[in-house]
Symmetry: C2
Subunit: 231 residues, 2 copies
């Protein structure tokens, strides 16, 4: 289970996210008053789809997966979060519910800001507000790409995209160690884990990548990009 830090105050995070650079000292103080931090073990829920949305979170340490829980147990991983990354919810101003789940894939920490406090600051600070809209809209653009990728590409292209995403956006190395399971990679690509494993094997046999049980090395990124393009 998650445990609160001693006094529920966030030491590690100093509202470092880009978004907060638009706040005045007073606003930062106001937000800080309600702010607290939670420590998570690997595999714990930061947010749970369907649950009440009361706080904006900010991942300050570790890593987490953001995913949609479909009806028939099928999850779709939208993206991975690294520090320092904000986690809002489209339920904000709509139904105050979470519409995705966020689960840590390693020991992590997150900072929480009361959604009402956040709303107050949004109201009083229009540059901050526009920046928040920018944040939301960027997420929408990513979602568009996810949608066209998952509906328009075949298995090879989707696995290539997932590997490139991990390498370029998440781990920022062509060779990386990860806590993601094969099922997780399957959930990133909307495939079954068996299909996922088969494509990975193909890529390995063709010398495009090499991997162990929890590490990947992208030997030929250009090839992966080509595969992503032709599907």
């Amino acid at each position: 289970m998650a445990k609160f830090s001693k006094d529920s105050t966030c030491y590690a995070c100093n509202l470092k996210h880009n978004l907060f650079r638009f706040l005045t000292d007073d606003e930062l103080k106001y937000i800080n008053k309600s702010r607290y931090e939670v420590h998570y073990k690997k595999g714990e829920n930061i947010f749970k789809q369907g649950d009440a949305f009361t706080h904006i979170a900010c991942l300050t340490y570790g890593m987490a997966k953001v995913y949609l829980e479909g009806e028939n147990d099928k999850n779709v991983i939208l993206r991975l979060l690294r520090p320092v990354e904000l986690i809002g919810s489209p339920g904000f101003q709509v139904d105050s519910r979470h519409h995705f789940s966020v689960v840590t894939i390693q020991d992590s920490r997150a900072c929480f800001i009361d959604a009402n406090v956040f709303e107050q600051v949004l109201k009083s600070n229009s540059p901050f507000n526009l920046e928040f809209i920018k944040y939301i809209n960027s997420a929408t653009i990513r979602l568009f790409n996810k949608l066209t990728g998952l509906t328009g590409k075949h298995m090879h292209g989707r696995i290539a995209d997932a590997l490139l995403y991990l390498s370029d956006q998440v781990y920022k190395k062509s060779s990386f160690t990860t806590n993601l399971s094969r099922q997780d990679i399957a959930d990133m690509t909307a495939l079954t884990k068996e299909s996922c494993i088969r494509i990975l094997k193909e890529f390995k046999d063709e010398g495009i990548i090499e991997y162990g049980s929890n590490s990947f090395n992208l030997l030929d990124k250009e090839k992966l990009e080509m595969i992503s393009r032709v599907s």
Copy 2:
């Protein structure tokens, strides 16, 4: 080609969209100054993906499809617009580009509001701003459902969803005439038109629906909802 109305002023639309109820008279006047209307024939682009985003649009008459243009000619129709419906762009505050295309499926009219003017009003009116965030977030929630639907359901479920969407959200009747082609319905469901046609035929053979070349009658909605659920 689209043609401007005589003096480029919008008569039909009086900023009727829900969103605008939060504006003061002065703000409405300010927006109205830059506002103009365009008439479209069926099949014309209101917005084109990739093009510069300079204006928010509001569909005041007719109907339009909003779709993502994928790489290999594969389009995904996100939704259909009816009057009076706002059409923003996730490029707002991000890259000032359109990330989807909007094309009329019948003769239509749209009202345009300068994005800079819109931004000014957003800045000065925080209830309006929060309402706009609500608007964006609602769109995100719809997108989540689209994503889980298209990746998690089989052909039958997806066609059922499209038919129910048309009936419940767009035409608001269980029997309706539409300008959507079979290709359009295929684009709503991320299927090929041939597969789409086959499922429609199956549904017809089972007495769940009946249809002509441009009309549908949903005889058994409960069955469709059941099909949507089990796949």
